[in-house]
Each structure stands twice: as structure tokens, then as C-alpha cells.
């Protein structure tokens, strides 16, 4: 029986097949063993202030060092006897209460770098602080795939591609808006030369042609995929909410994309932090709440894992401009229907044991990456990360 969904899927394939050369079409249906498992990475850019996100509401040092910026105890959404969410994060509190979230404290890396760019690169490449890698951890994951993955196996919901998704041989796929992506491919000359493959190309030129043909076929395919499922859940009307809605719709349409990468920016709160950060945390929580509700209603939450991180946390002591400056270790959230250890994973940071006013990391973020690679994505973390990290009991 042909239902609407499979009909649309077939016609989506049919419409792209005009363009794509045979060697690409062969990959269309390839599905790796762990394809069903999805990873959604959410990057909070700018350095989210973790201490005002997961608030140590019983810690006197916290209130002493943040006399005006500290979140009052009565506003905190308590997670346990020690910490609680910022009051604007009700949506995340409800996810937590369902047992679908693991909160990790003091996540970072040795010799922390306080530059946004550098620290973000360290997180995205999974390098040591004094090592410069030009490939990202998810890009290298793509490189390690035994079979040629689809061009959109790892997708970033943005017009440009982050280093995290750039491998040596393979790259993720950047798409800020699917309709816009499709419009950008409407160049008849390029469409024609993309289809014209009967002359041999030098390998770099071939790489350009392959990338171009993949972009065209992916644009058509994703455009059709995006029409299959219309979410009935109401998502908040901000761009982060829209990105998550787009992600959900692609997941529900059984798109063979395994990794989604979404960013939420603006966390660099050196001055007048409270309003700005709480607006962003509110967006984060409301977006995630809708997303998780949508996934759950469609039986996709079990097979989806969401990781929320930021390139660093902020200094414990507030500054003179009612803000906070660049810091080090931070909290990280895992969300999904299949967590081994939902709840608050480890104790709140020790504010009496600081490194020149900054938090000391207790968990290397690459331990989390390694665990995700080995236990969730079914890959080898040692290959992808270049060394072994102590696994954790997360998924």
C-alpha cells in the first residue's frame, strides 16, 4: 500500500534522480547500522554562564561572589538539594522531571583557553589546548564511516558550516533554510554542467563537481523531505525554535540524517547579564520543551540524544558591569529517552577550590564525546579522537 508519506518519499527520490549521477544515487538508500540513532548537538555560543544556569542555591560563596547577579534561592527550580535551574528554564525542568535529562557539572579541559574562538575550536575539534587541528570531531566521524554516507548525514542548521562538521575527506551539510537552499541551486548553467559528467576531471576539480552535484540533489531531496511531516506541536517563534522545528520535521520524515547541529548565540554577557542571559535561557528551554514533546509524541525520543554545550563558562565573581567575564569549566546537558543516568550526574563545582577565580574541570568534554561515539553512534572513539578517554556511564 502506498500511503502519503512513502509516496512523497518516492517522488522526492524520483525528482532528484534526474540530476544526480549514478555513483551518487547508489548511496541514497545505504543505511548504516546505527542510522536510527540520532544526535542533535546544540551549541550555546559566546560562553554561557553555567553558574546562573544550574544555580548552586545553597552555596554561600556563590551569593558572596555574586551579590547582585546571583539568582535568589526562591526563584530557582530545584533539581536536588544542591542545585536548581534558573527560574526562566521551566521547559527544561519539565524534561528533567520526566527523567529525560542528565546534567553534568564542571565539564572542561586541561589548560583552559579563555578566547572564544580558540576555546570553541578546541570543543569543535576535540583537540588539546596546545594542539591545532583542522578537522572537527563530527567531520572525522564522517571520515570513519565504512560506507559513503549521504551528503546530509551530518547537517548544520545554518548558512555556513562549523569546523566541528568538517572532516578531511567528508564534510557535513550546511542548510539554514531549505527553501532558500533550493533557490540557490536554481542556476540553469550550473545544473547543466553538474549533469555533464562524461569528461574526466582532475581530482580537485572532481571534488568541486561532486560537492556541487551533492548540493543540488540534497537541496531537492531535503525540500521534499521537509514537506512530509508538519509538526502539530507549537514551537516558540524564535530562530532557535524554528531550527528545532525543522530538525524535528526532518527526523519525523525518516530522513537518513544522523547528526543535526544547531546553534544559539549571544551568551557573551560581560555587561548587564541578567536580562540577556535569561532571555536566551528562556528560548533554550522553551525550544527544547517543544522539541522533546514532538519527539516523544512520534516515538522518536528513545532514539534521539541531544547534547547542549558552550565553549566555556564564566568567572565565578561577577564584574563591575553587572556581568561576568570569560571563565573555564561549565555544565553540559544530555537529553533523550534512553539515558543511563538521568538526573544530576556529579556534584556542583567546588567554589572554595578555584584556579585563580575560575572553576576547575572535573570531566574532560572528550570523555563525553568518546562515550557518545562508542555507545551511541556505534563508532570508535579512539579512531575519531586520536586517543582514548575514560568512558562515562551516560548512554
Amino acid at each position: 500500500m502506498i500511503n502519503r508519506r512513502s509516496f512523497l518519499k518516492q517522488s522526492a527520490l524520483a525528482s532528484t534522480s534526474i540530476l544526480i549521477p549514478a555513483f551518487l544515487q547508489a548511496n541514497k538508500h545505504s543505511s548504516a547500522k546505527n542510522q536510527a540513532k540520532k544526535l542533535v548537538v546544540i551549541q550555546l555560543s559566546g560562553g554561557n554562564d553555567g553558574l546562573n544556569t544550574v544555580v548552586p542555591y545553597r552555596n554561600e560563596v556563590y551569593y558572596k561572589l555574586r551579590p547582585t547577579l546571583g539568582i535568589p534561592k526562591q526563584e530557582v527550580l530545584k533539581l536536588n538539594d544542591e542545585v536548581g535551574f534558573n527560574g526562566v528554564m521551566k521547559g527544561m525542568k519539565s524534561i528533567f522531571d520526566e527523567g529525560w535529562m542528565t546534567v553534568l557539572n564542571s565539564v572542561g579541559y586541561p589548560n583552559p583557553d579563555r578566547s572564544h574562538f580558540r576555546s570553541m575550536d578546541i570543543w569543535q575539534t576535540a583537540s588539546d589546548a596546545d594542539e591545532f587541528l583542522s578537522t572537527g570531531w563530527l567531520g572525522r566521524y564522517l571520515d570513519k564511516q565504512p560506507n559513503e554516507p549521504t551528503p546530509y548525514h551530518a547537517m548544520e542548521l545554518d548558512d555556513t558550516l562549523s569546523l566541528a562538521l568538517k572532516g578531511k575527506e567528508r564534510k557535513g551539510f550546511a542548510v539554514g533554510n531549505i527553501a532558500k537552499l533550493k533557490r540557490g541551486t536554481k542556476n540553469p548553467l550550473l545544473q547543466a554542467v553538474a549533469g555533464h559528467h562524461d569528461h574526466a576531471h582532475e581530482e580537485n576539480v572532481a571534488y568541486l563537481y561532486r560537492t556541487m552535484a551533492n548540493t543540488f540533489s540534497s537541496a531537492d531531496y531535503l525540500y521534499e523531505q521537509s514537506k512530509i511531516y508538519q509538526s502539530f506541536v507549537t514551537y516558540p517563534n524564535h530562530s532557535f525554535g524554528k531550527d528545532l522545528k525543522q530538525t524535528a520535521e526532518l527526523i519525523m520524515a525518516d530522513t537518513p540524517t544522523q547528526i543535526y547541529y544547531v546553534s544559539l548565540g549571544g551568551f557573551d554577557t560581560h555587561a548587564n547579564q541578567k536580562g540577556q542571559q535569561e532571555r536566551l535561557l528562556g528560548n533554550l528551554a522553551s525550544g527544547l520543551q517543544a522539541f522533546v514533546k514532538d519527539l516523544k509524541a512520534n516515538d522518536k525520543l528513545e532514539n534521539t540524544l541531544i547534547m547542549v554545550f558552550s565553549e566555556f563558562g564564566r568567572r565565578v565573581k561577577q564584574n563591575a558591569s553587572k556581568g561576568t567575564d570569560h571563565g573555564t569549566a561549565n555544565n553540559l546537558f544530555l537529553i533523550g529517552g534512553n539515558l543511563k543516568n538521568p538526573g544530576v550526574y556529579n556534584p556542583a563545582p567546588d567554589l572554595l577550590n578555584l584556579d585563580q577565580g575560575d572553576l576547575k574541570h572535573r570531566v574532560d568534554f572528550r570523555q563525553i564525546y568518546a562515550t557518545l561515539l562508542d555507545n551511541w553512534l556505534g563508532s570508535s572513539s579512539a579512531d575519531t579522537l586520536g586517543k582514548t578517554f575514560k568512558p562515562m556511564d551516560l548512554v
Partner: protein
């Protein structure tokens, strides 16, 4: 057999940013060796920036409030961005000094450095230009004294009682001898030799003798009261340094795949010449293998090379530079803002679905055909946040181009323009080109053909 004219074109593509029309007409008569000589000679007298123009009044700074200081820093950053655009336009404008501009771009990637103020930028750029085709030793020592690099690699914090190893480490790992040729102890000792190398508030190099460690150091098997210059000399005495630098130059100017026998031979003569960069480049450009088919049209242009070639060929002038900066950023290369001290990785890493489509569609956007509607990732401490690129606000001047190709039509026009614009061995056949050809109403055939040819993937190659 590759024709001399094709060789000349290849030389201009690699030693510069593509052949200019006036040279293209004469390409049949030019000899490689005289052209190489000319490029090298003209590069000996580069156009430098007047650093005095960028000096700031320190006294003024002292009386500023906190907010004024923040605004001032922002202004400095904006001015630096403007300088990066100006450099790009200088590269496009250069008629005689194309090689020194190209070498400077190469060295900027080698001595990769993020700079946030105009004087340091001018000084850093001048330092490279002065020595780009000179002696590598002078170049390293010059760079080691630029406030730009000192700040970027924290050498102002490198003090006798608390050494900071950042500069010393990168000097060895990335700037001279390369990984695997030194020990951690060498890094520590070298850092001591550079203690006190700092920069003043005015933005000049300053040697702070009180912070310098005058003690004995053991570095790479030698012992003495070495200072920074001695460390550089010891590094340059090691043949691995010549090998490392030549390898990088070969992969940039000849072929990213390298060639160990040639690199070894070139490194030996580079070492023998005491690191004379001009001689090295002459040898490369005059060698037979430089013009082998496998080396021609096989390099993916960097965003800077691509934009410069575009601006040159189409005579582009911009009404506003902000969109151009956005394009540079979206393509992944802002000058004076490398991703890290290792520079831009280059090659295929420039290309993903997003950057490729932007590149392929750019000629049409420039002709104001279609909205770009492209969002650039947010910057943290920068000028603006999450802005959208819509129009490029550019004017094209294609008069010369039209004049040069006016006598050709259709298939022949296509062939002639492809020869001029594309360096790849294969080009799409005219039948494919012409069957999907849409005229651009406001342009004549020569310009329309040129714009379309420049939209082909082949145009991304040099």
C-alpha cells in the same frame, strides 16, 4: 607539449593572482626567465604603508572613561578590518608587484597572526613585505619583533621569573623547524632567551632588559647565554628548517601533494644560499616541472585568491565594504584573522556545500542578478552580530574585457574566454554552456559570457 603562452598564464596564476589582459595579449612573446626576473626584481621594492599614519596619541587614551575605551577599541578593530579590505584591493590593483603580494599572503598564513589594532597591522604587513622575497632569517627576526606577534603569542608575558613558552613553541613547531625536531626542554630554554621581548603602549618593539633572563641556556645541544637572535640562528643552522619551509612553499606554489625528491633538492640549495627566498622562488618558477600538467590548474583558490582574481578581471569597485567582509567571512578567510596560529589549512578544506555555492553564485550576485540572502555566523566581540548579506553594492567595469574579446562570437567567444579565464585542462563543452545560457539583459555578450564562465567550478582553480 605545453605552449609557452599557457606556461606564462600558469606562472601568473601562481606567482600572482592571474594574468592581466595587457600581459595576456603579449603572452606569446614573453620568455619565462625574463618574466621571473622581472617579478622578483619588482618585488624588491614593495609599496609599504606609512606607519606614522596609524600612530595613536597615548595621552588621549589615558584620560578616557571605561566606555570611551570600549568604543576606542571597537574603532581600532573596525579600522583593522578596513586595512584587511585595503590589502585585498591592493592585491587586485597590483600590476608589477604581484609576486610580492602573493608571497606576503603566503607568509601571512605561515606567520599566522590575529591583529586587532591598525599600527600593529601596518607594522606586521610592512615587515613581511620588506622580507617576503628577501632573506628568511631577516623575516623570522622581523616577525619576532612585531608587536602584533608578541601580543598574539603572549610574549609580553614572557618574563625571567615566569616564562611564557607560547612564542618559543610556535617559533619551532610552525615557523621554522617543524614538529618532531626539538624537545620540550628546547622549548623551555628558547622561551628564556626571548624573555623581555615586548611591545610598548605606543605599539613599538621594546626590549625590557630587567625582565630578560641573561643566564646560560642549553638549546639543541649548545650552551651559552643565548638571546632570541641566537635561538633563531641555531634553528636556521639545522637543515630541517630549510626542508620544512621549502616543503610548505612547494605545496603552496607548486602542488599540495608535495614531491620529496624536489623538495629535498630545493631545500639543499635554499640552505646553501643562506635562506635567500628570491633564489628559491626563481629556481621553482624556472624549473621544467613547475609547468608539468599535474601542476597546472590543479590548485583550489583560497577565498582571497578567488576574490582578487574576480575583482581584477571584472574591474569591481565596491560602494560599501561591509558586504565584502561578510563574503570573506562566509568563505572562511578574513585577513589578519586566521583561525589559529597554524594558519588556514587550505586546499579542499575551503570547500563545503555552503562555501562552494557562494563562490559559484558570486559572479551573478556581483552583476546584481538575484538576492544573496546569506546569513553570516555571529561574531563574539566583533562589529555586528548575525547579519544577513543581501546585496554586494558593487560596480563592474568590463570595458577592457569587452574590447579585447569584441571580435569573437558564440562558440569562438566561449573558447577564447575560457582560454583566458580557466586554467584547468578540461572545460565544459560549448554545447552544454550554450544550451543553458540565459542572457543578462544589461550586459553585452562578452561580459555575460565572462560572468557565466566565472561561475563554473573550473574558475575556482588556479
Amino acid at each position: 607539449m605545453i605552449k609557452n603562452s599557457a606556461k606564462i598564464q600558469h606562472l601568473y596564476a601562481r606567482a600572482g593572482f592571474g594574468i592581466q589582459l595587457r600581459d595576456y595579449d603579449k603572452r606569446g612573446q614573453l620568455s619565462i626567465s625574463s618574466l621571473v626576473k622581472r617579478l622578483i626584481q619588482q618585488g624588491k621594492h614593495p609599496n609599504l604603508l606609512d606607519e606614522q599614519d596609524y600612530r595613536i596619541n597615548i595621552e588621549e587614551l589615558k584620560g578616557m572613561t571605561k566606555k570611551e575605551k570600549v568604543d576606542f577599541r571597537k574603532k581600532m578593530m573596525q579600522e583593522t578590518r578596513m586595512m584587511s579590505i585595503n590589502w585585498l584591493l591592493d592585491m587586485a590593483k597590483a600590476k608589477e608587484q604581484v609576486l610580492v603580494e602573493k608571497m606576503t599572503l603566503f607568509w601571512h598564513g605561515h606567520f599566522a597572526c590575529e591583529i586587532k589594532n591598525p599600527l600593529s597591522t601596518a607594522n606586521y604587513l610592512n615587515t613581511i613585505k620588506k622580507h617576503a622575497l628577501g632573506n628568511f632569517r631577516d623575516l623570522v627576526l622581523g616577525i619576532a619583533r612585531t608587536p602584533a606577534m608578541i601580543r598574539y603569542l603572549n610574549n609580553q608575558q614572557n618574563k625571567k621569573l615566569s616564562p611564557n613558552e607560547n612564542f618559543a613553541r610556535e617559533l619551532m613547531e610552525l615557523f621554522t623547524i617543524g614538529r618532531g625536531n626539538y624537545t620540550e626542554q628546547d622549548v623551555k630554554e628558547a622561551a628564556r632567551a626571548f624573555t623581555g621581548w615586548s611591545s610598548s603602549l605606543t605599539g613599538d618593539f621594546s626590549f625590557r632588559s630587567k625582565l630578560h633572563d641573561y643566564g646560560r641556556k642549553s638549546f639543541m645541544g649548545r650552551t651559552g647565554d643565548f638571546d632570541g637572535d641566537d635561538i633563531v640562528d641555531i634553528l636556521l643552522e639545522r637543515k630541517e628548517t630549510a626542508q620544512y619551509i621549502v616543503g610548505k612553499i612547494y605545496r603552496y606554489f607548486v602542488n599540495e601533494k608535495g614531491h620529496s625528491a624536489r623538495i629535498k633538492a630545493l631545500a639543499a640549495s635554499f640552505y646553501e644560499s643562506n635562506y635567500a627566498i628570491d633564489k628559491l622562488m626563481t629556481t621553482i618558477f624556472e624549473s621544467e616541472w613547475f609547468y608539468d600538467e599535474e601542476n597546472m590548474g590543479t590548485r583550489i583558490k583560497s577565498p582571497t585568491e578567488y576574490l582578487v582574481s574576480l575583482i581584477k578581471t571584472l574591474g569591481i569597485s565596491f560602494d560599501s565594504y561591509r558586504p565584502l567582509m561578510g563574503v570573506q567571512k562566509a568563505m572562511g578567510q578574513l585577513l589578519f584573522k586566521p583561525p589559529n596560529v597554524a594558519g588556514w589549512p587550505g586546499g579542499r578544506s575551503w570547500i563545503d556545500n555552503s562555501t562552494l555555492m557562494l563562490r559559484l553564485n558570486l559572479p551573478m550576485y556581483l552583476a546584481n542578478q538575484g538576492e544573496m540572502n546569506f546569513k553570516v555566523k555571529e561574531e563574539f566581540e566583533d562589529l555586528q552580530e548575525g547579519k544577513s548579506l543581501k546585496k554586494l553594492q558593487a560596480k563592474l567595469n568590463t570595458k577592457e574585457l569587452e574590447k579585447a574579446f569584441a571580435s569573437y562570437e558564440q562558440a569562438e567567444l566561449y573558447q577564447q574566454l575560457c582560454d583566458f579565464l580557466l586554467l584547468t585542462k578540461n572545460k565544459p563543452p560549448y554545447s552544454v554552456f550554450q544550451s543553458n545560457f540565459q542572457t543578462i539583459s544589461s550586459w553585452n555578450d562578452v561580459s555575460t559570457y565572462a560572468l557565466k564562465i566565472m561561475s563554473l567550478p573550473e574558475y575556482q582553480m588556479c
